[in-house]
Subunit: 331 residues, 2 copies
């Protein structure tokens, strides 16, 4: 391994000078020495040892992103957005996938802290469990105390910079749009009871129906993924309109109906939430609430990077997108 010392020796300069030339500094180095150092570095194929640099500088060029599942287009889009701004800032990205295990999430924060990463981005819904949340906050606190930066996409309950999608309002808007088509018997594929994103969307939807004086929807719990949607869709009974609290569940529901010969939208209308990119080519096209996912990832990271004392919360609103998976109730 060729070290800075080797380069300095080869160039006939001191370690300090070599460091200033190759790894930047506020100080200037004369043109001739600079050239000698650069040439020596090129000849020997020198590469900075980031670990040493991080140790000496006390700050690294790495950020961390923690997501539930990279193969879920929702998280892929968030991560992609964040990675774009990381690349612009010349930062490297560590990605951790928790597969929805909160313990894993805590473990990742600890690891990222140990890496002294510059910022941590927590994507993915919080769960409604004070004990888990408490331990996560504790771990984050340790990291924040040592100068770390944290941003979160989702619920605002960690006292850190947060990009918070308007889950309640988006779901309520959707409910009103669907009710306007004449539907009265609704079902909600509501995901797991403890998952806050799921709960908020379900509550927003249900609340809006109540305000309109419509009957309560049938609320069906289940996993937050495609298969969860598939299974829950088998239990929607007499409902004429089904709201899945995220798109991947909605896609599962559509598959379920297709397999059972239930026509969408003729027999039942279906809507989702998120507007993941894979919907673009889905048949039938899914009605949903669009969130600017890549943007949200990018903004969250930008907030974390942009120093500032206060924990800020940026609300992101969703936009109802009507597509062919819903239709008006026959008169």
């Amino acid at each position: 391994m060729v070290t800075l010392e080797d380069v300095a020796k080869q160039a006939g300069v001191s370690l300090a000078t070599a460091s200033r030339v190759l790894n930047g500094s506020t100080r200037q180095v004369g043109a001739s020495l600079r050239a000698r150092v650069e040439q020596a570095a090129a000849e020997l194929g020198y590469r900075t040892n980031f670990a040493a640099q991080t140790l000496a500088r006390g700050a690294s060029k790495v950020i961390g992103i923690v997501v539930h599942d990279l193969t879920d287009p929702y998280f892929a889009a968030l991560a992609d957005g964040a990675m774009r701004v990381a690349a612009e800032e010349g930062l490297l990205v560590m990605v951790g996938t928790t597969h929805r295990d909160p313990e894993q999430e805590i473990a990742y924060v600890a690891s990222l802290n140990a890496q002294r990463v510059r910022a941590v981005l927590l994507a993915g819904s919080r769960v409604d469990d004070p004990h888990v949340t408490g331990r996560l906050r504790e771990e984050l606190g340790r990291y924040l105390d040592s100068g770390g930066r944290v941003a979160c996409v989702g619920q605002d309950l960690l006292d850190v910079d947060t990009v918070a999608p308007a889950n309640r309002e988006g779901a309520a808007d959707l409910a009103r749009s669907l009710a306007a088509l004449g539907h009265t018997r609704f079902a909600v594929l509501a995901g797991p009871p403890g998952l806050l994103t799921a709960a908020d969307r379900c509550a927003g939807f249900t609340g809006a129906l109540a305000e309109l004086g419509l009957p309560e929807p049938l609320v069906l719990h289940g996993p937050f993924d495609r298969d969860g949607g598939y299974e829950a869709a088998a239990r929607t009974g007499e409902a004429t309109c089904v709201f899945a609290v995220n798109d991947v569940m909605a896609v599962g529901a559509l598959a379920s109906y297709r397999d059972r010969g239930v026509r969408v939208p003729q027999d039942v209308s279906v809507a989702g939430f998120d507007d993941i990119t894979t919907l673009r080519d889905h048949v039938p096209a899914l009605t949903t609430v669009r969130l600017p996912l890549a943007d949200m990832g990018a903004r969250a990271l930008a907030m974390a990077l942009d120093l500032g004392e206060e924990a800020r919360v940026e609300r992101v609103s969703g936009e109802v997108v009507m597509r062919e998976s819903v239709r008006a109730v026959e008169a």
Copy 2:
């Protein structure tokens, strides 16, 4: 920031003892001291500084994965498979996305080298450009010389451990299956001319047709992504059967036909390659060549981690999966 020294002081032991207790070592530490150290660490909330550890040990607990695009299900699946084995081994993962820019790929390898990561996984097709490949090899050589491990998913032309999908053979099998349905006028959505994965699949397909004495297919070049497939599909002319060299292009092609009122499979048959998971719910179901993507990612990383002198090449064969997007030619 609480350091190991703080812990040692609080526990009334030496730095060496504290290190042995908290960060592992071949040496034993007596039970009473061990307990004192552990308690002190817990009280102070000590977290190992990985940068310091990496520097001292000369080896890190991080691996790097370089992909083209995380939002592409193909790469997401590969990365997910690799991340699973990384998690099992207690390794952290750095992910770099190049967005198909070979310069970026080289830059990432350099950065990962600087990080002294334990292994690097290069996913994504090589390009047919000796200059770029040469520079990448040079950078990889530097990394390998300093004890790094590299594995590659794709073409075997970097002299490193490689998981090589049987692109030619898979495409040839597919061609034979499609020809058996009576098709004679084929088109290939062939992706960019210089991309080896695309070129191999196209060559395998074309070669098999030639062996069968069938006319040459219409070869249409374009980008390797969904939109590339969409656009190229507009130019397939009289072909009754279209092979897109990957699934995302095939999905784009299906969208193009749908938008133009061309029925699949009645008017034209369409097939892809990879069997990405999002196909599961696609309508019409796409005929394709299945690759075990997550497995491939996992095996590539396993190879890289499993020490050994020789660069091994593991061939992975694809399996033709016939689905409703193709049908026999009317008699």
